[in-house]
Protein backbone atom coordinates (compact mmCIF):
# COMPACT_ATOMS: atom_id res chain seq x y z
CA UNK A 1 0.00 0.00 0.00
CA UNK A 2 1.39 3.37 -0.93
CA UNK A 3 1.74 6.34 1.38
CA UNK A 4 -1.05 8.09 -0.50
CA UNK A 5 -3.37 5.15 0.03
CA UNK A 6 -2.70 5.04 3.77
CA UNK A 7 -3.17 8.79 4.00
CA UNK A 8 -6.51 8.58 2.18
CA UNK A 9 -7.65 5.79 4.47
CA UNK A 10 -6.72 7.77 7.60
CA UNK A 11 -8.54 10.87 6.35
CA UNK A 12 -11.69 8.86 5.63
CA UNK A 13 -11.59 7.19 9.05
CA UNK A 14 -11.27 10.65 10.62
CA UNK A 15 -14.34 11.87 8.73
CA UNK A 16 -16.31 8.85 9.99
CA UNK A 17 -15.43 9.73 13.59
CA UNK A 18 -16.51 13.34 13.05
CA UNK A 19 -19.80 12.08 11.66
CA UNK A 20 -20.27 9.87 14.72
CA UNK A 21 -19.63 12.86 16.98
CA UNK A 22 -22.26 14.94 15.20
CA UNK A 23 -24.82 12.13 15.37
CA UNK A 24 -24.10 11.79 19.10
CA UNK A 25 -24.55 15.51 19.62
CA UNK A 26 -27.96 15.36 17.97
CA UNK A 27 -29.26 12.06 19.35
CA UNK A 28 -27.99 11.71 22.92
CA UNK A 29 -30.46 12.63 25.68
CA UNK A 30 -28.65 15.00 28.05
CA UNK A 31 -25.65 17.26 28.38
CA UNK A 32 -23.33 14.66 29.96
CA UNK A 33 -23.82 12.10 27.20
CA UNK A 34 -23.41 14.80 24.57
CA UNK A 35 -20.13 15.86 26.19
CA UNK A 36 -19.06 12.24 26.00
CA UNK A 37 -19.77 12.11 22.26
CA UNK A 38 -17.99 15.36 21.51
CA UNK A 39 -14.92 15.06 23.70
CA UNK A 40 -13.95 11.58 22.52
CA UNK A 41 -15.22 11.03 18.99
CA UNK A 42 -14.27 14.43 17.63
CA UNK A 43 -10.75 14.47 19.01
CA UNK A 44 -10.17 10.98 17.69
CA UNK A 45 -11.39 12.18 14.30
CA UNK A 46 -9.06 15.17 14.46
CA UNK A 47 -6.21 12.83 15.38
CA UNK A 48 -6.84 10.62 12.36
CA UNK A 49 -7.03 13.65 10.05
CA UNK A 50 -3.77 15.01 11.47
CA UNK A 51 -2.11 11.59 10.97
CA UNK A 52 -3.38 11.44 7.40
CA UNK A 53 -2.07 14.93 6.65
CA UNK A 54 1.28 14.17 8.33
CA UNK A 55 1.91 11.56 5.63
CA UNK A 56 1.40 14.21 2.94
CA UNK A 57 3.80 16.84 4.24
CA UNK A 58 7.56 16.83 3.86
CA UNK A 59 8.48 19.86 5.97
CA UNK A 60 9.27 19.17 9.64
CA UNK A 61 7.94 22.56 10.73
CA UNK A 62 4.49 21.85 9.28
CA UNK A 63 4.47 18.39 10.83
CA UNK A 64 5.34 19.78 14.25
CA UNK A 65 2.63 22.40 13.94
CA UNK A 66 0.04 19.75 13.05
CA UNK A 67 0.96 17.68 16.10
CA UNK A 68 0.90 20.81 18.27
CA UNK A 69 -2.63 21.64 17.05
CA UNK A 70 -3.85 18.15 17.91
CA UNK A 71 -2.27 18.19 21.39
CA UNK A 72 -3.80 21.61 22.02
CA UNK A 73 -7.25 20.39 20.96
CA UNK A 74 -6.88 17.34 23.23
CA UNK A 75 -5.92 19.44 26.25
CA UNK A 76 -8.71 21.91 25.51
CA UNK A 77 -11.46 19.31 25.24
CA UNK A 78 -10.31 17.50 28.38
CA UNK A 79 -10.33 20.73 30.38
CA UNK A 80 -13.57 22.11 28.99
CA UNK A 81 -15.38 18.78 29.27
CA UNK A 82 -14.52 18.56 32.95
CA UNK A 83 -15.47 22.19 33.63
CA UNK A 84 -18.83 21.98 31.86
CA UNK A 85 -19.79 18.68 33.49
CA UNK A 86 -18.92 20.04 36.96
CA UNK A 87 -20.89 23.23 36.37
CA UNK A 88 -23.88 21.26 35.04
CA UNK A 89 -23.84 19.16 38.21
CA UNK A 90 -23.64 22.27 40.39
CA UNK A 91 -26.58 23.75 38.48
CA UNK A 92 -28.69 20.75 39.43
CA UNK A 93 -28.91 18.87 36.12
CA UNK A 94 -29.59 15.22 36.94
CA UNK A 95 -27.82 12.68 34.70
CA UNK A 96 -30.15 10.80 32.37
CA UNK A 97 -30.78 7.13 33.24
CA UNK A 98 -31.96 4.30 31.06
CA UNK A 99 -35.50 4.28 32.48
CA UNK A 100 -36.05 8.00 31.87
CA UNK A 101 -37.98 9.59 29.08
CA UNK A 102 -35.42 9.95 26.27
Amino acid sequence: MTTDGISTLLLLVGAVFFFAGTVGLLRFPDVYTRLHALAKADNLGLGFIVLGLLLQTSSPATALKLILIWLLALAASATVGFLIARRARQNGIVPWQSGDRP
Partner: protein
Protein backbone atom coordinates in the same frame (compact mmCIF):
# COMPACT_ATOMS: atom_id res chain seq x y z
CA UNK B 1 -5.32 14.02 -3.43
CA UNK B 2 -6.32 17.65 -3.13
CA UNK B 3 -9.74 16.63 -4.46
CA UNK B 4 -10.20 14.30 -1.50
CA UNK B 5 -9.24 16.97 1.04
CA UNK B 6 -11.69 19.41 -0.58
CA UNK B 7 -14.52 16.86 -0.52
CA UNK B 8 -13.81 15.97 3.10
CA UNK B 9 -13.79 19.60 4.15
CA UNK B 10 -17.20 20.10 2.52
CA UNK B 11 -18.45 16.98 4.34
CA UNK B 12 -17.23 18.33 7.68
CA UNK B 13 -18.86 21.68 6.91
CA UNK B 14 -22.15 19.84 6.37
CA UNK B 15 -21.61 18.21 9.78
CA UNK B 16 -21.27 21.66 11.31
CA UNK B 17 -24.48 22.85 9.68
CA UNK B 18 -26.40 19.86 11.05
CA UNK B 19 -24.92 20.52 14.49
CA UNK B 20 -26.58 23.95 14.40
CA UNK B 21 -29.85 22.06 15.04
CA UNK B 22 -28.56 21.35 18.53
CA UNK B 23 -27.91 25.06 19.07
CA UNK B 24 -31.51 25.77 18.08
CA UNK B 25 -33.05 23.05 20.26
CA UNK B 26 -30.97 23.57 23.39
CA UNK B 27 -32.45 23.01 25.93
CA UNK B 28 -29.76 24.12 28.41
CA UNK B 29 -27.10 26.76 27.67
CA UNK B 30 -24.47 24.01 27.96
CA UNK B 31 -25.99 22.17 24.99
CA UNK B 32 -25.66 25.32 22.92
CA UNK B 33 -22.06 25.71 24.02
CA UNK B 34 -21.30 22.10 23.10
CA UNK B 35 -22.03 23.01 19.51
CA UNK B 36 -19.52 25.84 19.88
CA UNK B 37 -16.95 23.29 21.04
CA UNK B 38 -17.79 21.15 18.02
CA UNK B 39 -17.00 24.19 15.92
CA UNK B 40 -13.63 24.19 17.68
CA UNK B 41 -12.60 20.68 16.70
CA UNK B 42 -14.41 20.37 13.36
CA UNK B 43 -13.47 23.89 12.34
CA UNK B 44 -9.82 23.09 13.05
CA UNK B 45 -10.06 19.94 10.92
CA UNK B 46 -11.66 21.91 8.06
CA UNK B 47 -8.89 24.51 8.21
CA UNK B 48 -6.19 21.82 8.19
CA UNK B 49 -7.75 20.10 5.17
CA UNK B 50 -8.17 23.41 3.32
CA UNK B 51 -4.59 24.36 4.12
CA UNK B 52 -3.37 21.18 2.38
CA UNK B 53 -5.87 21.50 -0.47
CA UNK B 54 -4.88 25.06 -1.34
CA UNK B 55 -1.26 24.91 -0.18
CA UNK B 56 -1.50 28.03 1.98
CA UNK B 57 0.41 27.62 5.22
CA UNK B 58 -1.30 30.57 6.90
CA UNK B 59 -4.45 28.48 7.45
CA UNK B 60 -2.44 26.27 9.83
CA UNK B 61 -1.88 29.29 12.09
CA UNK B 62 -5.59 30.10 11.87
CA UNK B 63 -6.35 26.53 12.98
CA UNK B 64 -4.00 26.96 15.93
CA UNK B 65 -5.89 30.10 16.98
CA UNK B 66 -9.23 28.29 16.61
CA UNK B 67 -8.09 25.53 18.96
CA UNK B 68 -6.95 28.11 21.53
CA UNK B 69 -10.18 30.10 21.33
CA UNK B 70 -12.35 26.99 21.75
CA UNK B 71 -10.55 26.19 25.00
CA UNK B 72 -10.79 29.72 26.34
CA UNK B 73 -14.45 30.23 25.40
CA UNK B 74 -15.50 26.93 26.99
CA UNK B 75 -13.62 27.63 30.20
CA UNK B 76 -14.97 31.18 30.41
CA UNK B 77 -18.51 29.92 29.84
CA UNK B 78 -18.32 27.25 32.55
CA UNK B 79 -16.58 29.46 35.11
CA UNK B 80 -18.25 32.84 34.62
CA UNK B 81 -21.32 32.82 32.40
CA UNK B 82 -23.50 29.84 33.25
CA UNK B 83 -25.35 30.50 36.49
CA UNK B 84 -29.01 29.67 36.40
CA UNK B 85 -31.92 28.78 38.65
CA UNK B 86 -32.82 25.07 38.93
CA UNK B 87 -36.08 23.64 37.66
CA UNK B 88 -35.85 24.28 33.95
CA UNK B 89 -35.98 21.50 31.37
CA UNK B 90 -32.82 19.43 30.99
CA UNK B 91 -34.01 16.85 28.46
CA UNK B 92 -35.34 17.00 24.96
CA UNK B 93 -39.08 17.05 24.43
Amino acid sequence: MSNLTLILSVFLLANLLVALLRVARGPTPADRLLAALLFGTTGVAILLLLSFATGSAALLDAALVFALLAAISGAAFAQRAWREEPGEATHDD
